[in-house]
């Protein structure tokens, strides 16, 4: 069985990238492979918002990512790329004096160094 890391650089809803990543990861897990984690970068950091609120007849990505975390897939978001796009962890938000934070579990605010740690797998696939 093989190990994977997934890099998501595309914005949720705006493009199909998150949807494809989900289906790929689910298929990999079903085949018995290990998915070490997902790293969200570029516009992909928008996936880390705790507040994605699609209409009821559309995919709820927050629910989908949480389900993957429950299966042992780590979910890391680049905090620098996220801050540029208005996504902040509790700590970063407090430092800025903002009134709340929208990066919440199951997402972990990390640095690009975390992605380097995730390269120790058989394959990295980017969506």
């Amino acid at each position: 069985m093989a190990t994977f890391s997934i890099l998501v650089t595309s914005a949720p809803f705006d493009t199909q990238g998150s949807n494809s990543a989900l289906k790929f990861i689910q298929a990999a897990l079903a085949l018995g492979h290990s998915v070490k984690g997902v790293f969200f970068y570029q516009a992909g950091v928008n996936n880390a918002s705790a507040w994605l609120t699609p209409p009821a007849d559309e995919l709820n990505l927050s629910v989908a990512w949480r389900a993957l975390k429950a299966q042992g897939v780590e979910l890391h978001v680049c905090s620098t790329a996220a801050a540029r796009r208005g996504l902040l962890s509790e700590q970063d938000s407090q430092e800025q004096g903002y009134s709340g934070h929208n990066i919440q579990p199951p997402m972990t605010a990390s640095g690009l160094g975390q992605f380097m740690e995730m390269l120790d797998v058989d394959r990295v696939v980017q969506f």
């Binding site: 199909q16 990238g17 289906k23 394959r123």
Partner: protein
């Protein structure tokens, strides 16, 4: 042996043409997301170079989503086969 994942429609975006200029006989190409619209390009300059790639795949879910179909010479695959393909090739590029 590189596996090339194509995601954009070649009618709008040059990625497929740019990829085709760089593949070798050992490489594989997967049409996914809007890149499956390439299958409607019978009259386009890139169609024959594309279909002459022996390891040309197209993702079943993306074809069905868009109401199109694939000609015989294209290998139609699902996500489990896509996962397996990424392991069969040495590395993967997303275009």
């Amino acid at each position: 042996m590189i596996l090339h994942l194509l995601r954009a429609s070649p009618f709008s975006d040059q990625s497929l043409c740019q990829c085709l200029g760089r593949v070798t006989e050992q490489d594989g190409i997967v049409l996914m997301q809007d890149a499956v619209y390439a299958l409607r390009g019978q009259e386009q300059a890139w169609y024959n170079p594309m279909t002459s790639v022996s390891s040309l795949y197209a993702l079943k879910e993306d074809i069905e989503a868009r109401g199109i179909s694939a000609p015989e010479q294209v290998h139609v695959i699902g996500y489990p086969e896509l996962v397996t393909l990424t392991l069969k090739f040495d590395n993967v590029i997303s275009w």
